[in-house]
């Protein structure tokens, strides 16, 4: 008789705990329901591309230029609010001159992108113009901004989805860069 009241309460408490934990972990950033396995690109060769350059459309940005040394690919667009948010951080990181940051301007308007770089400053060694999102698909991009760390062997070491911060940079990028340099 007693179980009739206790059992539903226990089931409720169990569900409450499970949902509460998952919500908490989603909120605190420890769990992302979209990460059914992180990017499948991790540990694999980075996609190669050769695209027109935003800063000077007559030139091309080719990943072969950056091969042999680590580089970072930052996916951005002028329609992306979070990209504006991280822009100051990227400028600060570019000034540190630790690793070249290559821009990938995704599904954007060229003149607006040029104006953006002119007005806000340009943290990129070069920005590739991915007008139809083909290269972004190769990178498995699903939202801007996304930032990839590619090592000297051309292997994708890390992917950060979302706004780049100094903390993320130090914790995820710098530690991996240093680990790659030491051996």
């Amino acid at each position: 008789m007693k179980w009739r009241f206790i059992a539903p309460a226990l089931v409720f408490a169990a569900l409450f705990a499970v949902f509460g934990l998952m919500l908490y972990r989603t909120h605190s950033g420890n769990y992302n329901p979209r990460d059914i396995g992180a990017s499948p690109l991790l540990g694999k060769p980075a996609p190669q591309f050769s695209l027109a350059q935003v800063e000077n459309i007559a030139k091309t940005v080719d990943t072969r230029t950056f091969a042999g040394k680590p580089y970072v690919v930052n996916v951005w667009a002028t329609w992306c609010v979070a990209c504006r948010e991280e822009h100051a951080t990227l400028l600060a990181l570019a000034r540190q001159n630790v690793v070249p940051i290559v821009g990938l301007d995704w599904n954007d308007d060229l003149s607006q992108a040029q104006r953006w770089l002119g007005a806000l400053g340009n943290p990129y060694v070069a920005t590739a113009f991915d007008s139809n999102g083909k290269v972004a698909i190769d990178f498995g991009v699903f939202g801007a901004p996304e930032t990839f760390l590619i090592d000297a062997n051309g292997i994708v070491q890390y992917k950060h989805a979302g706004v780049m911060t100094i903390e993320v940079w130090q914790r995820e990028f710098i530690t991996r860069l240093q680990a790659g340099n030491s051996p």
Binding site: S39, I137, G143
Partner: protein
């Protein structure tokens, strides 16, 4: 009168959704290819949307993925090759029908576990009821006043 007009407009609007797919033009002349294309667009998740397939979404990424899909199919890739192309880039999350793996077994077995649990509960209840006497004199519902 006005009401009827409004109603017909609303109904017609509803029908218009059925008449047009998201891309106005048919992707392939060949009906078999078109069927494969439509099938695949319904198997693939629009990654930036909340639970929409790339067939249903107007988002740029979904449109890009549909274009990529058309290109892959036109170049003679099989369905499996197309799906592999996408999971190599986006992982299993892009699939609406994820494969059975170590990390997805709970997803696939949960319905069976819940069903077995329900059957078990039902069996216990039915057995308990069966042990009760057939006619209950205290039951006011069945006895005539």
């Amino acid at each position: 009168m006005k009401r009827k007009l409004l109603l017909s407009v609303i109904l017609a609007w509803g029908l218009s959704g059925l008449a047009y797919a998201i891309d106005e033009a048919q992707a392939f002349e060949d009906p078999a290819m078109q069927a494969r294309y439509l099938h695949l667009t319904r198997e693939l998740r629009c990654l930036v949307c909340q639970n929409e397939t790339i067939a249903d979404s107007n988002v740029t990424l979904a449109a890009d993925l549909r274009r990529e899909l058309r290109g892959l199919l036109a170049s003679g890739k099989s369905d499996d090759e197309v799906l592999k192309f996408l999971t190599d880039r986006y992982g299993d999350f892009v699939l609406y029908n994820p494969p059975l793996k170590a990390r997805t077994w709970i997803l696939w077995s949960a319905p069976i576990i819940v069903l077995l649990f329900a059957f078990g509960t039902a069996a216990v209840i039915i057995r308990r009821r069966a042990r009760l006497p057939m006619d209950d004199e205290t039951d006011a519902g069945t006895s005539a006043p």
